[in-house]
Symmetry: C2
């Protein structure tokens, strides 16, 4: 197994405009506004115990809100995102807000360590009676991630102490021994959080508990059956009908199809990959590989959206990828990034980084508006213009997944082992890594993803031999590299998507990498029936869409792109903070001459138009209107 | 207003093979098997009072069944269909079965006339407390239609007597006077049934009660609000959110958009058209015309399916006509036929007959299998092969709508006034009509819809002048007619879709009508975004589809039809009882060379294939497989 480990985001300085803008927006706008929204919607209040709880449904700001069992997790995720922000720059106001939350949690915590505000406030006697539906361990998982991030940013460990007490309670409650529950959470998350706690503390017991939850999942007799019976419920009355919904339909090592709720699946696979690495567990690794192959071959949108269906927020049949009703939850793509990063560090294989990048630049980034204060929960690939980002959501999970991702995005760029450095992403960063041979300063300069021209300055503190591995994305054909102007045999030296340059490096060495970025037409497998006769446009890692505001004159669904039409690349410095658009000669169906007819024997007339396409992640940041990714080809 | 009235189905003898086969199948198989299913699913049993009622959900034949508040209506509809069968040929066994039902209903009827088996058995104290949801008057409406049909077939009036007593109870219960409820049914149907009762009995009070229900609907204060409050419910908790669902969102004359549950809408518009005719109510006629224009211009499938959405079993937005998820309930198309026939008799305008025919030959006929014992509830225009007709349904409404339609289809062919005869449909019938000038025998000979060559023999008992009106369908271009071999100036003499031949007719006169029936390509309005870049095939009134069994080699969604490809007409005497198929040179997307990729830059290769298309109504009668109506054009 590779021993590459990611360089932490705090050690990676984002210098390129692309990520600088996103990070600044998240720090300046998203994180403060999310705290306001958590307050406005009663979520912060729900931590203040004892307190008469609000009714389960209450009107606020012209909407009906429902108190959610998973609100603790949203607070945890906000602490995590805010703490990543603090790692970039300390902020007394944000810290005071977190401290207030920690005060509340400290007061709320039961003497035995239990800490779930929903249950403590409403049904203290019913804790741990409905693991299937009620998210208690999921909430703890997100709080742990928040506590770790806050500790790393500030070295304040009060929150971590609270949560470690809670973890001890959980450890006492769950397990194989007499008097313990052989349960696990209906919504996976605690597993990967416990592994992070293990990474922080080095305490093996956290890893073991994570492994216990993963190993126990899906065993017979089924815990959720027993638990339902103990509540006096008929287990068959489970609304989702099948335990595929929460991936507990069979033991995880026997799972070979990606099913059910997409976010739960991705969080679980992330933990499985973590455990595979930590425990050298090949059966878990193999299960992950089989599941990876399944989702990638038949269940992922071109934007890396996952889970077509709203009904289960998840997966359906192979190749069922409807565009207008695509659920493709933002959280699922963020969680896919987590999983992909873990798979990448099991095997340094560019196929994982390709997906990581694809998810990052498309479905995940699209979840957050340009102004940093609006969010897509679902990410359709086709819209009649009625979709737009929410200022908030009854289930605000995606909001903090967007902010915690961007606030820590630097952590996805570079990894290193003792003798090698690997670049996964590009876009303008600087960092320093410690190899066995000594420290190496790195500076990567590019305007990626707008350009594939990348320069990397390699500055070891003293000359040293090590391997520099540069990811050559799967979409990049004919990549060229040179070291200090001397060409490298790029193709020969590229294995599994990484170009390896092994040499004795010295300060001042410069690597130039050229990744060709022509506009490309992408076609879906013919089994994706929704996309037959259709084409998508892509350049580099970016999937494009056509949006009505750039293509005025009616719904963009009426555009047809001739197969032979040349797709041009157009710099647009005036749009957003500079963007590369695509353009092509196309036609637009006219709607005149129809009278009141809905059907007729003559095809609609078509006008020639110049089609303009925008990166998908940027859609819905200007005037509302129709949008589509998959254009009708002619 | 025109004074045309339809010739009753009992007086129209179906001689052509097309309808003869359907009618024979329905008489021999559908109606007896439906009685078996009504018994097997506890529906007949539910009429037997007093009886301990079964639990609301019970397992039977490997399915869970839910006792439905509308089961009385299914019995009513079966009696209606079975009685139409008896009008064709008496059958002691069927009559005994109906008599048994009448016995049960007679015993079940409350002393005050009330007769709803669900309420009488379960919640007698709650009758008339939830008109919004619980179908009491809807049930009565269908029972009335059954009672009328049974009386007309057998002259037995016991069922009618029972129902008339019930109607008197309803009349006492509902109305504007003190102590009466100003209510109406959430599921319209009673209105058109009461008008049929008026037609049978001549008793004006039935017409008045129908008019009352129509006039009261949607008035403020809203009855369903008041009724919910009286039950102690919050009216805002109505699951469907809006009274558009049952078309009570505003008074009917103020409705100008077709909304909500499609079957309810169509039954209501049918009653409105009836009342417009009976009461010479121009405001109702205008409302019908506006609603007709709305649905026809933006809300009807090419197959005449209505209501795209399962969620409300009904209408959504203009031009929202998804193909694979099309709900397009069989009942809605049958009800559209009712409405269209009524509109046609308000104004003899071929546009109504065109829709009637389109609904009949496509969505409605498709609801019933070739074997006469399987049913489509929803009628998608695209299927991956998972759809197939049901042997029965928890909500069996569509099954008896199919059988009662086919058993009475003769009633849609011919109308007459005092001085004129109008042919609306063709397909081989004979009948006799009584004009002021005397009786006229008519025999129409054709293999319509397979051929547009039609011969009509006109045989007045003595020579007489009258107008013969022959419908020239909207799809027929270049129709030609002759009388005794002498050409008629067809185009000049055709007004609003009817060719009028006014002459002195005598026995032995023969009219020949030639309706050209080329294969046609049909395009949808560009606002129907699902059909952009797609084409449908049609010939005469029949919409075609491609089905996998005729196009083996993978999903038919992978077929592409070049725009310039000639569509051939092919007689297939060997298939079913003879059918005209269409064929064209096309291509099929290959799926080889993809490996495990879901997306790639090269378009899928295409193989040349000969595409074979079958009339839509016939699909899913052989091997299961994929099907589509809208082909990708290239």
């Amino acid at each position: 197994m590779s021993k590459f480990a990611p360089v932490r985001f705090v050690d990676v300085h984002l210098e390129g405009q692309f990520w600088r803008e996103r990070l600044d927006t998240v720090l300046a706008r998203t994180i403060p506004s999310q705290h306001v929204q958590l307050g406005r919607h009663g979520i912060l209040e729900s931590l203040t115990l004892p307190n008469p709880p609000p009714p389960l449904r209450f009107p606020r700001n012209d909407h009906d809100f429902t108190v959610q069992v998973f609100w603790d997790s949203d607070v945890g995720k906000w602490i995590e995102a805010a703490s990543y922000a603090l790692s970039h720059r300390r902020d007394a106001d944000i810290e005071a807000k977190i401290e207030k939350i920690v005060d509340d949690l400290e007061k709320a915590q039961a003497p035995d360590g239990y800490l779930n505000c929903w249950y403590l406030q409403r049904e203290p006697e019913n804790r741990w009676t409905n693991m299937r539906d009620n998210h208690e361990l999921y909430n703890l998982g997100h709080l742990i991630e928040g506590g770790i991030a806050y500790f790393l940013a500030t070295e304040r460990r009060r929150l971590l102490d609270i949560l470690e007490r809670y973890v001890e309670h959980v450890r006492a409650t769950f397990g194989p021994n007499a008097g313990q529950k052989r349960g696990y959470c209906g919504h996976q998350e605690i597993e990967l959080a416990l592994i992070r706690l293990y990474h922080l503390t080095g305490e093996r017991k956290h890893l073991d508990l994570a492994a216990y939850f993963i190993d126990e999942r899906g065993r017979q007799p089924h815990y959720f059956d027993q638990e339902a019976a103990a509540r006096g419920d008929d287990p068959r009355d489970f609304w989702a009908k099948s335990y595929e919904y929460n991936q507990s339909h069979r033991p995880v090592r026997e799972q070979d199809k990606v099913v059910g709720h997409a976010v739960r699946a991705m969080y679980m696979y992330s933990a499985m990959a973590d455990l595979a690495a930590e425990l050298h567990d090949d059966s878990l690794k193999r299960a992950c590989e089989v599941l990876w192959a399944d989702v990638m071959s038949s269940k992922i949108y071109i934007t890396s959206g996952l889970g077509p269906a709203a009904a289960n927020e998840g997966f359906t049949e192979d190749y069922d990828l409807p565009n207008d009703t695509a659920y493709a939850e933002t959280c699922a793509s963020v969680a896919l990034i987590f999983w992909a990063q873990r798979m990448l560090h099991l095997d340094l294989d560019g196929k994982y980084a390709d997906v990581l990048e694809q998810a990052l630049f498309n479905n995940a980034l699209g979840g957050l508006s340009r102004d940093g204060e609006h969010y897509f929960y679902s990410n359709p690939l086709d819209s009649d213009g009625r979709h737009s980002r929410w200022a908030w959501h009854t289930c605000p999970c995606c909001t903090m997944n967007a902010s915690r991702l961007v606030a820590s995005v630097g952590g996805y760029f570079v990894s290193h082992s003792d003798e090698a450095i690997a670049f996964h992403l590009y876009g303008g960063i600087s960092t320093e890594v410690a190899l066995k041979s000594g420290k190496v300063g790195l500076r990567e300069v590019s305007s990626y993803p707008w350009s594939g021209d990348i320069r990397i300055e390699v500055s070891p503190e003293s000359p040293a031999e090590f391997a520099l591995k540069l990811r050559i994305p799967g979409w990049a054909h004919g990549a060229k590299a040179s070291v200090n102007g001397e060409p490298v045999a790029t193709e020969l030296s590229t294995v599994k998507g990484y170009l390896t340059v092994l040499r004795r490096w010295q300060a001042g060495d410069v690597v130039d990498l050229h990744l060709p970025m022509p506009a490309e037409r992408i076609y879906a497998h013919p089994s994706v029936r929704m996309d037959i006769g259709r084409v998508a446009l892509k350049r580099g890692p970016l999937v494009y869409c056509v949006e009505e505001t750039d293509n005025p004159g009616g719904p963009v669904q009426r555009l047809r792109l001739p197969r032979q039409s040349h797709v041009e690349v157009r710099q647009r410095g005036d749009l957003f903070d500079g963007v590369v658009m695509l353009a092509a000669e196309a036609t637009r169906l006219q709607d005149d001459g129809w009278g009141d007819r809905l059907y007729r024997t003559e095809p609609p007339a078509e006008d020639p138009v110049k089609l303009a396409a925008l990166p998908y992640y940027l859609w819905n940041n200007r005037e509302k209107g129709s949008m589509t990714v998959w254009l009708v080809e002619k």
